[in-house]
Symmetry: C2
Subunit: 129 residues, 2 copies
């Protein structure tokens, strides 16, 4: 098995998420990647920042560990998420997630493969209720 | 998508883990099960309590959120885990996890299917370094 220490100072530095797929400032802490592609990591979004639209071929789980944010699918489902909430995004569902306008967001992300990135989330889409 | 509220008082009650596969007192809070079998939940173990030996056909991720415990595979790998640590147990690897003798343990568990349960963990196996 593989154990990654949460407080280990030798862990890789966190990386700023690229402007190719995140609007605003977001930092990724890639905790662990398994041999089968399973990956778990922590992600921080500053207020107002969010991913581009994207999909995961095998879906994604988000566990909110701090702050408050938004998750949204093309059909309008989703909404505000806050610390303690858990989100399951089904395989192939086009969606985005990020911070609320007035709060940062930190979540754990669990996936099986890298995302397929789509276009940026518009201000209108970000602001919708 | 599916959102489970972490503080929702209407969530199902936690369940005591059965004596068929856990030694001592352990409580499961089954947060979410997806259509493809993906499941995320929180599990508490009182000091000294632990699962029986078991496997997951597609492996398991543990994210320790409180306390300190032990995870161990048949080959002796593993060891003490504490809040902040992340564990990846590969597909099919026979292992157990639970609390330390002097601490409770709370972890998030992410799996793709129900475990295949094996025999109880002996006191000698529990106490090994």
């Amino acid at each position: 098995m593989q154990i990654v220490r949460g407080r280990d100072a030798t862990a890789p530095a966190v990386k700023r998420m690229a402007a190719d797929y995140v609007t605003g400032v977001s930092w990724a802490d890639p905790v662990l990647s398994g041999p089968d592609g399973t990956a778990i990591g922590h992600v921080f979004f500053e207020p107002g920042s969010r991913t581009f639209w994207h999909t995961h071929r095998n879906g994604q789980i988000l566990q909110v560990t701090s702050g408050r944010g938004i998750v949204r699918s093309r059909d309008g489902s989703g909404g505000v998420i806050a610390v303690g909430d858990t989100v399951l995004i089904p395989a192939g569902e086009e969606h985005w997630h990020g911070a609320a306008p007035d709060s940062y967001l930190v979540h754990i992300s669990i996936t099986r493969e890298a995302p397929d990135w789509l276009e940026e989330v518009s201000e209108d889409d970000y602001a919708r209720d």
